[in-house]
Structures are given as C-alpha cells and as structure tokens.
C-alpha cells in the first residue's frame, strides 16, 4: 500500500452494491472470509461470557449465581456455539477463505456463489439456534452432544436447535467442497502439489474431512428431529430401537470433526515457523502427508468416545489401537516444527509467540489424549474434568491459539495496517498464563474424581475450582487486551507494507490489503515455499 502505483484495495473497489449489501451479497472470497471472521468472533464472545458465568457459578460449593437448570442450559449453549459456530467454521471458512486463493495465486475460490451461500447457511443456522434459546421450552439442556434418550424426552427446544446445527452442517460441507475444488483447479501455473504452502495442504485435508464426515452429522440430526416430531423409535429400546446407534452415528461425524478444527490450526503454525525462524520448513513432505493421514485414520477412531457405553472388548481394543496410531502423525508434526526452529535466526514476534504457546499446549493436550485413549485409564477418567481439561487444551490451547497466531500473522495482509507489538506480546503471555491457571487444575480435579457437567461439588474439590475460576478472569483479561489491540489497529494502526514479515508465500507478493482480484498478473511459481535469502 505504498507508492504512487498503489492499487485500489478490495475494500475500495465497489461491486455493484453499497453499504452493508456490498458485504452480504459479495462473492469475493476476501469479503466472505471477513464476514465469517466477524460473525464467528461475535458468537465466540457470547460463548466466552457463558463460560465465565459457569466458572463463576463453580467458584464455591452450593448455588452461587444461577439455578441448576440454567447451568445445564449454559454448558449446552456454550458447547453448541463454541463447537458449531466458532471452531468448526473457524479457520477454514474464515482465514482459509481469505488466504487460500491468495496463497495459490488464484483470483477467487472455485465456486464464489456457493461460497456466499455457505455464509448464508451459516447465518441462518446461527439465527435458528438463537431463536431456539428464547422460544418453545427454552434453551436446550442436553449438552452439545444431544445424546438420546434425554434429548428426545426433554421439553426444551432441542428440535429447533438441532435444525440450526443441521444448517450449519450444510454450510460446512459447502465450504469443504469449495476448498478441495479450488486447490485442484485454481493453482497458479507452476504451483505443483509439492510446491503448495503447507497451510494449503492442511486446508485440503480439512476440506475432505468436511465433505466426508459432515453428511453423517446431517442424517444423525435429521433422525433426532424426526424422532422428536414423529416418534419413529429408532433410538428407543421399548420400540425396538437402540440408543447406542445414536452415539455411533454422532461420533462417526464428531470425531473427524475435531480434525476439521485442528488440521488448519496446524497449517497456520507451519506457515508461521519458517517465516520467523528464517529457515525453510523441516520435513515438508512429512508434514503434508501427516495431514492426510490424520484426516484418513481420524475416521476410524470414533469408538474411543464410547469405551464406557457398551461395546465388545475386541472393538474397544481396535479403537484404542487406532487412537494411538492417529497420534503418530501429530507427533511427527510437532518434531518437524521444533526441528525447523533449530539453528534458525528466531525473531520472537507475537505470531511466533502464539505459535510456541500452541506447541506447548497442544503437546500437553495430545499427551493427555493418550491417557484417555488407553482403555484402562479411560474407564478411570471417563466423564470427569480430565476430559474437559484435555478437550480445552486441544481446542482452545490448540486451535484457538493457532487461530490467534494466524490472525496476528495475516492481520497486516487483511487490513493493510499493523497492530502494536507490545500489547500483542502482553496479551499472549496473559492468555497463556490464564489458560493454564484455568484448565490445568481440571486435570487434577478429574483425576480426583470430579464429574463433568455437574452444577455442584463436594467441598474437597473447592481449591481446584477456585483456582480455575480465577484463571478464567486472567484469560478474559488476555482476550480483552488482544481484541482491543487488534480492533484499535484496524482503524488507527500504522500502514503496513505488502510484506512486513518477509514471508515468501504468494500472499505476500500482492499489495496489502489485496486488490479486488488479488493479483494484477497471475504469478508463475518456479520453486517450493519457504525459501529465504540469507
């Protein structure tokens, strides 16, 4: 955005509409990516507040600020929003939408109108879910997994909420379809498969998971709605059905779904490390293939969510074994990241600091995942806070930290402005500290036997809960610093050049913010990514 030849950015060049319509009717992948980012972070904040209220309720034994019923509704809505409205669309539909065409030298996604349609499905689903909170029997209180038989019998507004999630599923499928087709069809000349940036590889794997897993969620939720509306009895033993079938169908989607959440996060991390260590990535192909193998083996491990639900020993052993197998490619990635930094000239800017935090938290989450994946220990910690801690280390410490890293890394590209570095570093440190104070005690609470989803607890769990609640405040402070810094910088930040970090992937070759169709001339690629001059 410097010099006299500065091009009009996509913010300035019109698209036949004005005002809000130029956003909600735009088929430009950059505008749609921003629409996603802003809507997702709005929902994220609602769910953060619900989480804070839950922690506040648990600050001491006995009722503190809410009734048990509202607590049930809160952890359900917190889960539904965080999972389906924030973290699943999160990186692929937000940053992925924005960055994928830029990284492969394309003018747009393969299906721009389907891209817009997926955002509309997303918003419609979100609105349906919000409506479900205030109508009918009130907000759903089943937990985000909607397990039968309770979800069929409860009088709360489960049918509508589930329909909302169904629409979100359609949105997610369409995004995946777009990602995969775009990568197949729209790579710039010379951008062979093994010259693609690794974020693109991770989006490719994610896209396939979205295509191949989400329809199973669709039919599961459809069955649940039908069950509530017409009473088929598929999940009701009294009529010949079987509630376990619901759990199987649900996890056949929902386990691969955690890879929809984590794979693109790993992709972001892989982008950031070479740029701030000034070294090419270690083990390019190993990282690319580990994304694909995580995506494929990830389909076959859903049973580990059901070790205590009633399964034959043989299937439990197989599912447990496969769970250990799927940890291997993640381990490969972690070692590759560390090796890439070895002997690099590391500059610990905020994106890298978030990334390093990610590696630490993700490793902790991954290793505790093996404790849960082993049959003997699983029975001991199943349904306790240990699961809650593991899950948040993966999803918040993993995905969300990488998401924040990506936001900081690509912020100058997206907005053409630079944020202030000091508050960014502070926010990362505060977030990291708050995160560990909030969630680490949950590991211990879980091992001591604190069950998850309980409104009340025995006095002997008090200390752990108290520390955890204090941690939630530190975490909230970190979020406030970070978002204040970022939002402020959108408006009054210093102008960033087209390549402030010295990145070597294609998105840094165009101006910041990029012009309407990304590149004045479609680039020709002659070598792989992450080549830095000495």
């Amino acid at each position: 955005m410097t010099g006299a030849q500065r091009e009009m950015s996509f913010y300035e060049s019109g698209n036949g509409h004005t005002g809000i319509l130029s956003w909600v009717l735009s088929t430009d992948h950059k505008r749609i990516g921003l629409l996603y980012l802003f809507s997702m972070f709005s929902f994220f904040f609602v769910a953060v507040i619900l989480g804070l209220l839950m922690r506040l309720e648990l600050i001491a034994p006995g009722p503190s600020i809410m009734t048990a019923e509202s607590y049930n509704a809160m952890f359900t809505v917190h889960g539904v929003i965080m999972i389906f409205l924030f973290i699943i669309p999160g990186i692929p539909a937000g940053l992925g939408n924005f960055m994928l065409p830029l990284q492969i030298g394309a003018r747009d996604m393969a299906f721009p109108r389907i891209n817009l349609m997926s955002w509309w499905f997303y918003m419609t689903g979100a609105i349906v879910i919000i409506v479900s909170l205030f109508t009918g029997g009130g907000p759903p209180d089943t937990g985000w997994t909607f397990y039968v038989p309770y979800s069929i019998r409860t009088g709360t507004n489960v049918t509508l909420a589930v329909f909302g999630v169904f629409l979100l599923g359609i949105s997610s499928t369409l995004t995946g379809l777009n990602l995969v087709t775009t990568i197949h069809r729209l790579r710039a000349p010379g951008l062979k498969w093994f010259r693609m940036p690794l974020f693109v590889w991770s989006l490719y794997a994610t896209g396939w998971v979205q295509i191949l897993a989400t329809p199973v969620l669709g039919i599961t939720l459809l069955l649940l709605m039908m069950e509530r509306l017409f009473g088929f009895g598929f999940f009701d033993p009294a009529r010949g059905g079987d509630p376990l079938l619901f759990e199987h169908l649900f996890w056949i989607y929902s386990h691969p779904a955690v890879y929809i959440m984590i794979l693109p996060a790993m992709g972001i991390v892989t982008e950031i490390i070479p740029v701030f260590a000034r070294r090419t990535i270690f083990g390019y192909k190993a990282i690319a293939f580990s994304s694909l193998s995580i995506a494929s083996v990830g389909y076959l491990v859903w049973g580990h969510h059901m070790f205590t639900s009633g399964m034959s020993d043989i299937s439990r052993v197989i599912f447990s074994f496969l769970t250990f197998i799927v940890a291997v490619p993640s381990g490969i990635k972690v070692f590759n990241w560390i090796a890439s930094m070895y002997k690099g000239s590391i500059k610990l800017s905020s994106p890298l600091l978030f990334t390093v935090s990610f590696i630490f938290l993700f490793s902790l989450g991954g290793l505790t995942g093996l404790i849960i994946g082993a049959l003997a220990t699983n029975i001991f910690v199943h349904g306790t806070y240990f699961i809650v801690a593991h899950f948040h280390y993966m999803m918040f410490g993993g995905t969300a930290f990488a998401f924040f890293a990506g936001i900081h890394y690509w912020f100058p590209k997206i907005f053409g402005k630079m944020y202030r570095e000091k508050p960014a570093i502070t926010s990362c440190i505060v977030l990291f500290a708050g995160f560990n104070v909030l969630y680490f005690p949950m590991f211990i609470l879980g091992l001591e036997g604190m069950p998850r989803r309980y409104y009340d607890y025995l006095p002997r769990f008090h200390t752990g809960h108290l520390i955890s609640t204090v941690g939630s405040w530190i975490l909230a402070a970190g979020l406030m610093i970070m978002f204040y810094n970022l939002i402020r910088s959108i408006f009054i930040g210093e102008v960033a050049g087209s390549n402030p970090w010295g990145g070597s992937t294609l998105e840094w070759t165009t101006s910041s913010p990029p012009p309407h169709e990304n590149f004045t001339e479609i680039p020709v690629v002659t070598e792989g990514p992450y080549r830095f001059r000495k």
Binding site: T173, I211, P215, I219, L223
Partner: protein, 204 residues
C-alpha cells in the same frame, strides 16, 4: 453480483463436474447413515423384516423402479441432445423426465396413503401393536423412502429450472454443464432407489 462473477474467470467445466461429484458423495453418505441403521435392525429382526416386507406392494415397487429407470434414460437423452445443439429435443426429454418423476411421486403418494389408511405409520397404535421388528421396518421404510422422495422432488425442481434456462437459451451446446450436473443428480437419486427397492420390497 453477476458483473463481478463474470470477471472472475471463464466457466471451469472440469471444476464444476468435480464439485458436483463431491456433492453427490455427500448425498451418498447421508443415505449411508440410514442404510447403517437398516443393516443393524435387519440383522436383529430378520423374521419380522421378512414378514413386514411381504405386506408392501411389489407391483407398485416394480412399477416405480421401471419409471425411474426410464426417467434416467430420458435424462441422459436430454443431455445428449443439447450437446448436439438440438435444444428443442432436449427440452422435450427434460419435460419427460419431470413427468416420470411426478409419476413416481404420485405412486408413492398412493402407496403411503394406503398404508396410513390401514393405521400403519410411525408412532401409530396399529404399528406399535405389530411388535418391535415391524415398527423398525416401517420406521425405516417411511424414513428412507420419504427422504428419497424429497430428493426426487428436489430433482424435479432442479429440472424445471433447467427447462427455463434451456428455453431462454442460456443452456446450449457450449454451456451445458449445469444440465449435465442436474442429470448426475437425477441419476444418483435413481441409483439410491435401485438399492431401496430390493431392501424393502424383495426381502420376503
């Protein structure tokens, strides 16, 4: 929006086809979930499934199979015609496909109505009295043929849109990928029926 879109690039024929095939795969997976339920319940209630299946009308089932298979033929012919610049003939074949689709749905309507008239529908006292196995069989029957019927309906709507586009001339021998994709969708719906027919009508 249109202006912006046309700037993007020329239509990518292979890309559109690839996207459509992946979409069809998601549809297939949607039905896979239901076939999974079917296989579990059928292995659990073998006898009851046989008994319940014999109460379905094989005549209507066979008739509907013939109708749908014929509609796939007319669908393929309409794509073939538009490739050869014979838009009018293509339009006729599209119309025929829509007609067969409606014919199929009409048969389905009478079949369902007769069953409902006999008090056999989900959650009905009549069905629950038949026992667990038959409750599951008819539950699956209504669920799977119902969702399949919705897909036929969606296909009909899609084809009606294609007919309008053909008439306006925006579908022609240079640009027919939308018709071809609609055809792929129609064939998929047809293929699913080819599996639904034996698992419900021919297992007694």
């Amino acid at each position: 929006m249109n202006k912006e879109h046309s700037l993007n690039k020329k239509t990518d024929y292979t890309g559109s086809k690839q996207g459509m095939w992946m979409f069809l795969f998601t549809e297939l997976l949607l039905f896979t979930g239901m076939f999974l339920l079917y296989s579990v319940f059928r292995s659990r209630y073998q006898q009851e499934f046989h008994a319940a299946s014999s109460e379905l009308s094989r005549t209507i089932g066979t008739l509907n199979t013939v109708i749908l298979l014929t509609s796939s033929l007319t669908m393929a012919l309409s794509v073939n015609a538009i490739r050869k610049d014979k838009n009018k003939i293509s339009l006729i074949f599209q119309g025929l496909t829509v007609f067969f689709g409606l014919f199929f749905l009409a048969n389905k309507f009478f079949e369902w109505s007769a069953k409902i008239h006999h008090g056999i529908y989900p959650n009905s006292p009549g069905l629950l009295a038949h026992g667990k196995g038959e409750t599951m069989f008819y539950g699956l029957y209504y669920l799977m043929t119902g969702i399949h019927g919705l897909h036929v309906l969606a296909g009909i709507v899609l084809l009606l849109i294609m007919m309008v586009l053909t008439k306006k001339g925006s579908l022609n021998s240079d640009s027919f990928v939308r018709l071809e994709n609609s055809g792929l969708y129609w064939h998929l719906v047809d293929v699913i029926w080819v599996y639904l027919f034996p698992v419900f009508y021919l297992i007694s």
